[in-house]
């Protein structure tokens, strides 16, 4: 019988409770093993040499002195990673990013790597590698890179999505457009039109655990890799393709992961570790330093965005448009496209148009960062929404409620929405005591909405019943923040047994079928769907076994409250059989009992949030203090509410850091000037207040329990919420993120001069 993923209302027993996570004790006692906490016999230490230039031709690499150093077991360059990508340009970009082939394209681009018996020998070996660089002109700013006079990263790039196809190469790789209606007509219908330009600086995901892996390649072609990743099946696939390995011979185990937020969905150093191991004939451990993490992994796009919105004086938006330019680093990506898709998703618009441009710059390859591209677009749009409300003279929350998307709305990116939570989150925010709390001098309140698609994807799960009736749930989605607890709850719920009877583990790539990454807020959404499916299959097996034990027809066996029950008057004398009873008899009734599930988890429900933020700005220093912060978000169904709240709070905190402090600072030389946590300042405990959360539950019709992804949407509204609060506090519209003290002081000074 096929699995039906449709939502069906039910009363939950386990789902919605807050038990302690199964991996918890390991994590509070120091026993949990992360990327760098694993060693293999005979292991060498790997280190990577990186370009000190933003853009340079590599004329030659002389590694002879490094190779001659005692204790050095392998030195590799791009020549040791031959191009096997066979015309796949995405894969070629990954290969080129892992190690520069002809040109170094950003400060920090890998150019060579060594494996040695210890770290000090490896470091000395790096110093002995002589690279002949021919320094080239560079460009790091997204607007500068779009100019026809800008240095080109690749003379083979001709902007896609433009008719006729350009004949001159440029740094704009692609143009995308979304929308419907006619914005020009819409703007003519408006009584008030606001048009503004915004900039956001590049930020890093800032996971505290640097990238780390241990790779071992054997002479017979079998390989093992231990790695911190959000998706070990994808890492396996890409590494195998880049190195010409059989997928089945490369067994990848995901370590505990010390944060990823999208940054660990991309391979960086893993192919290098494998290539070093292949060359050295020994396992190689490769751990990035924090400086390497900043210079060569991660960051999100820097952006330049123009937004224009028009409304009638009754508060109806008549048209909205945006032009979004997103930096991609040296290789193209979908970043401006995602910005263009998400910009106006919160609103029900008759006329809307968004245009995105993907722009190449000499910065690290842009990586996904939690609802990638949406926060910057929301910053620009929600700032204009606020300003428009003020100009019309409508309360900003009422203005948003009046124009909010709802079930049946044709979204700005195309699809028609089903049941969604933007209206309810706005109404909850409107009712929240925070909205009407008094404010003092130099203080301001801001609000903003946010949207993220969420993703489902390929998912495979096994559920095995032990001989004692306890359950092992084996999943292939990496647990980034408590999903093993959530999935244990779901298995317990579906089987009708206690949470404590289920143990969830994350399988390696050799012991379970393919799973997509833990990205797109899919971990709990998709694996819970597969868990329910696997549990239902296991229940089918257990009903069959009970029927055999009773010697009755399986149709006369029902599953209720964790027990097989014989139904019908003729079976009145049969006592229900527990999972334990059935498991104990398994050897005599057909062998091990398990349920499996392989599915594509379609129907990820879109997610909306509304945030409220109070700030106080010190007019003498330009420093902003967050006084109060409230998150209202739709979870569909909160499986483990404590970890749902944690996602809301964590996303808000990251967004606050982005709004106020975090930014990549590049010098005139195109080199990153702040590759460390001292100068790239993420929020610390004393920067933040408690972050109040309110979970709404508007069931996702495409999940049996109504679950939606919850991980990403929380980072979408904060940039705008904080910007609106700061703008209201200082009486000046802030248009450049982060609103660091120097930028706020400059804005105050410019305002003084203008008046």
């Amino acid at each position: 019988m096929g699995f039906d993923p449709s939502y069906a209302a039910r009363t939950f027993t386990s789902v919605g409770t807050r038990p302690i996570r199964p991996d918890g004790v390991d994590k509070v006692t120091g026993r949990a093993r992360y990327g760098a906490d694993f060693n293999m016999p005979g292991q060498l230490v790997g280190r990577i040499l990186r370009s000190p230039h933003a853009h340079a031709r590599i004329s030659g690499i002389d590694a002879s002195k490094a190779k001659a150093l005692k204790g050095v077991k392998a030195v590799i360059t791009a020549a040791d990673l031959p191009d096997l990508t066979n015309g796949n340009s995405d894969l070629h970009d990954i290969l080129d990013n892992c190690m520069a082939r002809k040109r170094a394209l950003y400060d920090g681009h890998a150019v060579a790597a060594v494996a040695a018996i210890d770290a000090r020998t490896a470091r000395r070996a790096l110093d002995l590698i002589e690279v002949d660089y021919e320094v080239l002109a560079h460009v790091t700013d997204v607007d500068e890179a779009m100019k026809s006079s800008a240095p080109l990263l690749h003379d083979t790039v001709f902007t896609g999505g433009v008719e006729p196809k350009p004949t001159k190469a440029s740094n704009i790789t692609n143009r995308t457009q979304y929308g419907h209606g006619d914005v020009e007509v819409g703007f003519k219908e408006a009584d008030v039109v606001i048009e503004r330009s915004f900039k956001t600086e590049q930020t890093h995901q800032g996971y505290i655990e640097p990238h780390a892996c241990v790779a071992s390649v054997n002479p017979d072609g079998t390989c093992e890799m231990w790695v911190c990743t959000q998706g070990h099946f994808v890492y396996r696939q890409q590494c195998a393709e880049l190195l010409g390995l059989d997928v089945s011979k490369l067994r990848v185990t995901s370590s505990e992961i010390g944060g990823g937020f999208g940054g660990k969905t991309h391979i960086w150093a893993e192919p290098i570790a494998l290539a070093l191991s292949r060359r050295a004939g020994r396992p190689v451990k490769l751990v990035m330093s924090r400086e390497e993490v900043f210079r060569a992994s991660g960051p999100t796009s820097a952006t330049s965005i123009d937004v224009k919105i028009g409304a009638r004086s009754d508060g109806t938006i008549t048209a909205a448009s945006a032009t979004l330019r997103y930096s991609c680093g040296p290789y193209t990506g979908p970043w401006a496209m995602l910005g263009a898709m998400t910009s106006f998703a919160c609103y029900d618009l008759k006329n809307v148009k968004t245009v995105g441009y993907e722009v190449l710059v000499n910065r690290p390859k842009t990586a996904a960062y939690r609802a990638p591209s949406a926060p910057m677009a929301a910053f620009a749009v929600e700032s204009v929404i606020d300003e428009l409300a003020q100009k019309i003279g409508i309360n900003p929350v009422e203005f948003r409620i009046k124009n909010a998307a709802k079930e049946g709305t044709k979204s700005s990116y195309g699809p028609v929405f089903g049941p969604i939570g933007i209206g309810p989150t706005l109404e909850a925010a409107q009712r929240h005591p925070h909205m009407n709390a008094p404010l003092g001098k130099n203080q301001g309140r801001g609000m903003a909405c946010g949207f993220w698609f969420n993703f489902g994807g390929q998912t495979c799960t096994d559920l095995n019943i032990g001989a004692d009736g306890t359950v092992t749930l084996t999943v292939g989605t990496v647990d980034v923040g408590g999903s093993r607890a959530s999935l244990s709850l779901v298995a317990a719920e579906e089987l009708g047994i206690p949470y404590a009877q289920v143990q969830t583990v994350v399988a390696d790539t050799g012991t379970l079928g393919y799973n997509d990454m833990t990205d797109g807020s899919r971990g709990t959404f998709s694996s819970s769907m597969a868990t329910i499916s696997a549990a239902r299959n296991a229940i089918g097996v257990m009903r069959d076994r009970a029927a055999r034990m009773w010697d009755i027809h399986v149709d006369d066996v029902a599953w209720e409250d964790g027990h097989a029950k014989a139904v019908g008057g003729k079976h009145d004398n049969l006592s229900p059989l527990s999972v334990k009873d059935i498991a104990a008899a398994a050897a005599k009734t057909g062998g091990p009992i398990a349920g499996h599930s392989e599915l594509v988890a379609d129907g990820a429900g879109v997610s909306f949030a509304t945030h409220i933020c109070d700030v106080e700005v010190d007019p003498d220093t330009g420093a902003t203090k967050i006084l109060r912060y409230t998150v209202v978000q739709d979870a569909g169904k909160a499986v483990h509410p404590a970890y749902v709240e944690g996602q809301y709070q964590g996303g808000a905190a990251q967004g606050i850091g982005w709004a106020l402090n975090e930014e990549y600072v590049y010098g005139e030389d195109g080199c990153l000037q702040n590759p460390g946590f001292l100068d790239y300042r993420v929020p610390v405990c004393s920067d933040l207040p408690m972050i109040d959360t309110q979970i709404l539950e508007i069931p996702n019709p495409n999940h049996p329990y109504g679950v939606r992804g919850v991980g990403e949407t929380s980072i979408v509204p904060p940039l705008a919420a904080v910007a609106n609060a700061v703008s209201n506090a200082v009486g000046i519209r802030m248009t450049h993120i982060p609103m660091s003290p120097p930028r706020i002081l400059a804005a105050l000074e410019a305002d003084r001069r203008a008046h």
Binding site: R18, I20, R21, D23, G24, V25, D26, K27, V28, T29, G30, R31, A32, R33, Y34, A36, D37, R120, Q205, G206, Y207, I208, E209, P210, E256, I257, G258, G259, G260, F261, V287, S289, R290, V480, G481, G482, H640, A642, Y643, E645, G646, Q647, Q649, G650, G651, A652, A653, Q654, G676, F677, L678, V682, P683, V684, C685, S686, L688, M690, I691
Partner: protein, 158 residues
């Protein structure tokens, strides 16, 4: 022999090790002694993931040389629980879901233990400043602060 012989006390046990002059206490704990609870997040003293308590003082073990441990008493996360009994801070971190990825957790627990040793009844602000040397990127700190508040109550016997 270029190694430096060091005698120290770790979690109450006498420990001897050899280290190179440039190796940090964090390197020694992780690479020589198998105590991997302290994490390397930055190696510049900015993230606090490697926090340990040295003679009653909270330090970043990445900023202490291994050789400097000679004759000192060091407490690490591995010594926090007593047998099977978790320290109240450990128990409250679990109860309050004060960790997501858990990478920063050992450092936070050491910092919180140090804070409560010197101030058993801290205000929220004192907790926030007491933990300001430890970075957490997952939680937004809300549940960490609540866990420390709750653990402090338990430890005071309120």
């Amino acid at each position: 022999m270029s190694g430096i012989a060091v005698s120290t006390t770790i979690n109450g046990d006498d420990v001897e090790f050899l280290c190179h002059f440039e190796e940090t206490l964090l390197d020694v704990l992780r690479d020589h002694l198998g105590l991997m609870g302290a994490k390397e997040g930055c190696s510049t003293g900015d993230c606090g993931a490697c926090s340990v308590i040295l003679d009653g003082r909270l330090v970043c073990s990445c900023l202490v040389l291994g050789a400097e441990a000679e004759g000192h008493h060091i407490e690490t996360i591995e010594g926090m629980a007593t047998g099977e009994t978790l320290h109240p801070l450990q128990a409250k971190f679990l109860e309050h879901a004060a960790l997501q990825c858990g990478f920063c957790t050992p450092g936070f627990l050491m910092a919180a233990k140090y804070l409560l040793a010197s101030n058993p009844d801290p205000t929220e602000e004192q907790i926030r400043f007491g933990l300001a040397g430890n970075l957490c990127r997952c939680t937004g700190y809300d549940k960490i602060v609540r866990a420390v508040q709750d653990a402090a109550r338990v430890m005071r016997g309120d």
